[in-house]
């Protein structure tokens, strides 16, 4: 009797979870299907079904006349640049903060950690003015530098927690062998910090790839537009034909979902680490 009740409640839970899964995933399914349809299907004949005629030309339109290929490249450059700069800066700082010995290292670490709580609103206008004065708006640096600065706190936090697991004996041994401090960092610490790199990389990728506010304001020239701004422009000029926009949305989402399908567990872990430690 009792067991029956438990079984029944499990069944109901399962059904509710399925419904919620549909709610979460349906818009994406819809995006995928209408990216392959023409207007007559999207607007009435076949609103939610699979496309009758698979219209791959939508993708061609989005990539060429819609300029999505360019925006995709720009987003890639900005994201890779940000990951590279942030990771290097964070690993170097972590080494100095956690392993080397100097006065004020605790305070310095705490100040970096304050960066976790500062919203980008605090910086947007001053940074815009700085970039304008340096004639640097409409460039890749205009996004890479601010993204890196705001990702830094999280990157240091993550690498701090990883460096604690590296035994000091290795450094001591290298030191006795006559290795310089730079050699220790380069040959011993960096290779051992590899597990931290993927966590940091995932974190920064999601931030930089998806960021909108800085990108909208610092970039007006289409040559440097990232995907988030590019899609906004595109949807402004293709208000009446939805197919190419759907294709653009799929193109922008593809790398994220591609990564996620291979390493969903790792991605979930990275985001949990970041949130709970911060």
């Amino acid at each position: 009797m009792h067991r029956k009740k438990v079984k029944k409640s499990k069944k109901i839970t399962f059904i509710v979870l399925c419904i919620w899964a549909i709610i979460q995933i349906f818009p994406l399914y819809w995006m995928l299907t209408f990216s392959l349809k023409d207007n007559s299907e999207i607007f009435g004949e076949n609103i939610i079904g699979l496309p009758k005629k698979w219209l791959w030309s939508n993708y061609q339109v989005a990539l060429t006349t819609g300029n999505m290929a360019r925006y995709f490249l720009n987003s890639t450059i900005v994201t890779v640049g940000t990951i590279f700069l942030t990771t290097i800066a964070a690993l170097m700082a972590t080494y100095a903060l956690k392993r080397m010995v100097w006065r004020g290292q605790e305070t310095a670490n705490n100040i970096f950690m304050l960066g976790l709580t500062v919203p980008i609103h605090a910086a947007i206008l001053p940074v815009f003015i700085m970039l304008r004065n340096l004639k640097m708006t409409n460039s890749y640096q205009a996004l890479i530098l601010p993204y890196s600065a705001f990702a830094l706190a999280m990157a240091i936090l993550i690498s701090n927690s990883f460096i604690d697991n590296i035994p000091r004996e290795l450094e001591e041994a290298a030191c006795i062998d006559g290795c310089s401090i730079y050699g220790i960092f380069w040959h011993i610490i960096l290779p051992l910090m590899k597990p931290a790199l993927s966590t940091i990389g995932i974190f920064i990728f999601l931030q930089a790839w998806n960021e909108l506010m800085f990108a909208v304001i610092f970039i007006s020239d289409s040559t440097y537009r990232t995907l988030s701004v590019g899609i906004q422009t595109l949807s402004g000029s293709y208000t009446t034909s939805w197919g190419p926009i759907g294709a653009a949305l799929v193109i922008a989402t593809f790398p994220t979902l591609f990564l996620y399908s291979f390493m969903s567990q790792k991605i979930q872990e990275s985001l949990v680490i970041g949130a709970v430690k911060g």
Binding site: V6, L17, Q24, L28, A89, P119, L125, L152, E171, I217
Partner: protein, 293 residues
């Protein structure tokens, strides 16, 4: 070894890139923002110092209605804490107790979190489209023609219409944090409770949720400060319109600074947002601390 670790040049070199980035792009700008907020300045001519005039105008001007704008952000925060988080908690507990397809559900629920807010926004623009969107099309299909709306263009529905996708997108995020938190509760505690006769939702109420407090604190802080800072989806969906019906502090800030060149006034809004975020983060921490005691 000690001597090597105290090498001043090396310390300087290692610290330099991070410190430079941090000071130039976060440290100095905060102080500049505070300074700007005290100026009457359009960004082109020289600004004039006007003390707290911007802040006074912000709260007194009948055309800006900043109190209502902040109210919108608070409303989002309240919905987030009292609808989104309980839903996430229920999902997390149900999944963590073990159910068929546990991993699959976690993976699916988390997908919207990863997708760019611009993509989500564009998608919901289409969902809400008055002629062809699936909401209105669905309503027409089941004969509820009178319920169809221009969801984002109607002053009465715009605010809630922009809130729905925001809440929808981040349920999975909170769910994942809570789920990971529950999973890290040691199984011996659960076993002990089970031997004492706790089961099902009793277990959740007396064991899981109290032990989950630190994670819940993080979630509440994220939900509240995230609402106060909310920008992306609202910018894409309505940009605060129609007639400021869905305006939030961030959209107002951007349109004041970059739309109307009111640099000083916009900076005052930025300072208010930062202040509110810090204030509520501290308040929530205090609240949870007294709760734990």
């Amino acid at each position: 070894m000690d001597k090597v670790m105290k090498n001043k040049t090396a310390i300087f070199l290692f610290m330099f890139p991070a410190t430079f980035l941090f000071i130039a792009i976060i440290g100095v700008p905060i102080f500049m923002s505070v300074h700007y907020s005290l100026l009457d300045w359009n960004g082109i001519t020289e600004g004039t110092f006007i003390g707290f005039q911007n802040y006074i105008e912000l709260f007194k001007s009948p055309s800006i209605r900043f109190v209502k704008v902040i109210g919108n952000a608070f409303l989002l925060a309240i919905l987030s804490v009292f609808i989104q988080l309980p839903l996430a908690l229920w999902l997390a507990i149900s999944l963590a107790r073990g159910i068929k397809g546990e991993r699959f559900f976690v993976t699916i629920f988390f997908i919207p979190v990863l997708i760019s807010t611009v993509v989500i926004g564009q998608l919901w623009l289409k969902i809400y489209n008055p002629q062809y969107g699936i909401i209105n099309a669905g309503l027409r299909a089941i004969g509820f023609d009178h319920l169809t709306r221009t969801w984002l263009g109607d002053q009465k529905t715009a605010l809630f219409a922009v809130f729905v996708p925001i809440l929808w997108q981040y349920v999975g995020y909170h769910m994942l944090l809570m789920y990971a938190g529950i999973k890290s509760i040691s199984s011996s505690i659960n076993e002990a409770a089970m031997i004492d006769g706790a089961e099902g939702w009793q277990m959740s109420k007396y064991i899981t949720i109290p032990l989950l407090k630190p994670v819940l604190q993080v979630c509440v802080i994220f939900a509240v400060t995230g609402s106060l800072k909310a920008f992306d989806l609202i910018y894409v969906l309505t940009n605060g319109g129609p007639a400021h019906a869905s305006e939030v502090p961030s959209t107002l800030m951007v349109s004041m600074i970059f739309g109307r060149n009111r640099y000083g006034f916009g900076s005052a809004i930025a300072i208010c947002i930062i202040f509110l975020c810090f204030f509520f983060a501290i308040l929530i921490k205090k609240f949870f601390r007294t709760e734990v005691e």
